[in-house]
Symmetry: C2
């Protein structure tokens, strides 16, 4: 694995990945704010670039698409779930682990991005371009779920059953997250809503990872009903 004695570097060193992420995240924040204020269609690439204090050219170097500017912010949110997965002790069930330690990262990192993230997720319902970017991102996240599950079960990462399980978890997380974003639309994020979200997610993941708790399919509905906000 030794790549030999590296020649002493010359010239300007490449910028660290850390810095790259910083830049992307910074741009992302401005883009999301503009999208929320004026809509996606009405926000131009030039406008995003100006707001972020970079040239339009570097904007397109960082993001291949106007809509993909939302990626870093959303990644921040999904990363929280991934972190919980990584900390999943082998002996305990996923449901219990989530109940115990899932404080949706929607609240944790870097502070104030939470509302913005939820706003984007809500926007993806009506803006096809954003939805597409959102789905692409979730699929990339699916891969990291696969890695976690593979390591946990000792199976290869490309085994079909591992990928299936990861895909199912990702899908469930998506539904629960979208639902949460809708639920806290008007009022802010209440601790109560957060608790309900965690319970829903734990229940739903339990269903796809272990099957309904008691009996057949029909029992499943009742077991979740207590946490479901019934829409008219």
């Amino acid at each position: 694995m030794e790549s030999g004695p590296i020649a002493p570097r010359r010239g300007r060193p490449p910028v660290s990945d850390r810095q790259r992420q910083r830049q992307r995240l910074d741009i992302s924040r401005h883009a999301v704010r503009l999208f929320a204020e004026q809509g996606v269609a009405a926000t131009s690439g030039a406008q995003i670039a100006r707001a972020a204090g970079v040239s339009e050219r570097t904007l397109w170097r960082c993001f291949s698409t106007k809509e993909s500017c939302v990626e870093p912010l959303l990644t921040e949110s999904i990363g929280a779930f991934r972190a919980v997965l990584y900390a999943w002790p082998p002996e305990v069930g996923l449901t219990e682990h989530l109940r115990a330690s899932y404080r949706p990262a929607l609240a944790s990192p870097s502070g104030g991005d939470t509302e913005a993230v939820l706003a984007v997720i809500r926007m993806t319902q009506d803006e096809p371009g954003l939805r597409a970017a959102y789905l692409m991102l979730r699929e990339r996240a699916e891969e990291t779920f696969t890695e976690v599950l593979a390591e946990r079960t000792g199976r290869p990462v490309d085994a079909l059953d591992v990928r299936v399980q990861a895909a199912a978890m990702s899908a469930v997380l998506k539904v629960a997250t979208d639902d949460f974003a809708q639920a806290v639309a008007g009022q802010g994020i209440t601790p109560e809503a957060l608790r309900r979200h965690r319970e829903q997610l734990a229940d739903a993941l339990g269903v796809v990872t272990r099957g309904p708790q008691e009996g057949g399919w029909d029992a499943c509905g009742d077991s979740v009903a207590g946490h479901v906000a019934e829409a008219p």
Copy 2:
């Protein structure tokens, strides 16, 4: 529900939805062929329009995006699975029903689109634009799964557990389909490969709808291993 005595129509009648679908499907076939031949980037909207024998303007009236031209063809394929779902008798388990009656619609409708559909699915692995369109489509299909499940269980279509189940099924179907498309890449679609695909899908759906057959999570891998083509 009566909308009153309709005034006798004047002027040219709107074209039937049937015709619209026909036109879209026709364009879709040409677009997919061109994408496969020269790549997505190298295929212009004008080129697709010319090939389909319509003006560029009507092309953009039919499809909002160059990449979304693949939709009708892919929809055709997913529709087959949906049909099997609709024919799912209440008393039998999903796994058995699939084993019995899932002859992947990838082969059935209108004949020769099968190879093209699989080609597109394979292309989505490398072409981000196509992948995005593919994911959007699958999410729309998810809604119809939700309807089927809701009717089957008597629960409302917007109930969270129903949506979760539908999302999980959709995700599983995606993984299995992508895997199948990869598996038959070089050689054509052999009956053997088709059988394996059906078995994998039935197994995988069994996992997310009923949990692993015997014991806990760890047993799951073994129960599927027989059907999994092990990659190096």
